[in-house]
């Protein structure tokens, strides 16, 4: 299994509070991604990173920010959580940004009350 750890795995928070999800990898892969998974929508890309301090927006980036200060860590921050951000968040990594399989973490289930 690819060395990807997401934390926390489960979190319940209240509307308006900040939340940070962490993705940690031990594979030294260059590319890291944050997806959210919702019923009826499949997986949708939030943000991705193609190197340390190099990030870009995905399809559903509004309300989210990311940071990558080290190769192994990719943080997803919800500055002020809303109920619409209740979802399961997946981190994925890959060595290649042009072709190849993604390796996924086990997911972080976030509930915003």
């Amino acid at each position: 299994d690819a060395g990807i750890t997401q934390s926390p795995r489960h979190k319940v928070t209240e509307t308006g509070t900040p939340v940070t999800l962490r993705c940690h990898q031990t594979e030294n892969h260059r590319y890291m991604y944050w997806y959210r998974q919702d019923p009826g929508h499949g997986l949708r890309l939030i943000h991705y990173s193609y190197g340390v301090k190099d990030t870009d927006k995905g399809e559903v980036s509004d309300g989210y920010s990311v940071s990558r200060s080290k190769t192994e860590d990719f943080l997803l921050t919800l500055e002020s959580a809303t109920s619409s951000q209740t979802s399961v968040y997946f981190c994925a990594i890959t060595a290649s940004g042009t072709i190849g399989e993604l390796f996924f973490g086990e997911g972080s289930r976030l509930t915003v009350l």
Partner: protein, 113 residues
């Protein structure tokens, strides 16, 4: 918007039977990938087929790609109870790589022992 859409949304078959699921997409692609997701887990890569390939095999999996129809099918032969999972196709738009990898909504496959 979803690039790929799987069909059917749900499929139940008897163990030992073959399972076929389909994926349709909208724009030209470089590659198409299939992933499996067990309940409560992250996605696992199954197979990748390039746009210049028409068919690919991996164990009990057979994937076809018809770029003229913008569709792909995943066939699982001699199904087993362990194949019970959701299956997703993922495509990368031509001229983009994994940063534009978009997932369909998935087919939920149930194998009845």
């Amino acid at each position: 918007s979803q690039q790929g859409e799987e069909d059917p949304q749900a499929l139940s078959i008897q163990e030992g039977e073959n399972a076929t699921m389909n994926c349709s997409y909208k724009t030209s692609i470089n590659n198409l990938q299939w992933y499996r997701q067990n309940s409560g887990r992250g996605l696992v890569h199954l197979i990748l087929i390039r746009s210049n390939e028409r068919e690919k095999h991996s164990g009990r999996l057979r994937v076809t790609l018809d770029t003229s129809k913008k569709s792909s099918s995943l066939l699982i032969t001699a199904s087993r109870a362990a194949d019970t999972a959701s299956y997703f196709c993922a495509t990368d738009a031509a001229n983009f790589g994994n940063e534009k990898l978009t997932f369909g909504t998935g087919t939920r496959l149930t194998i009845i022992p």
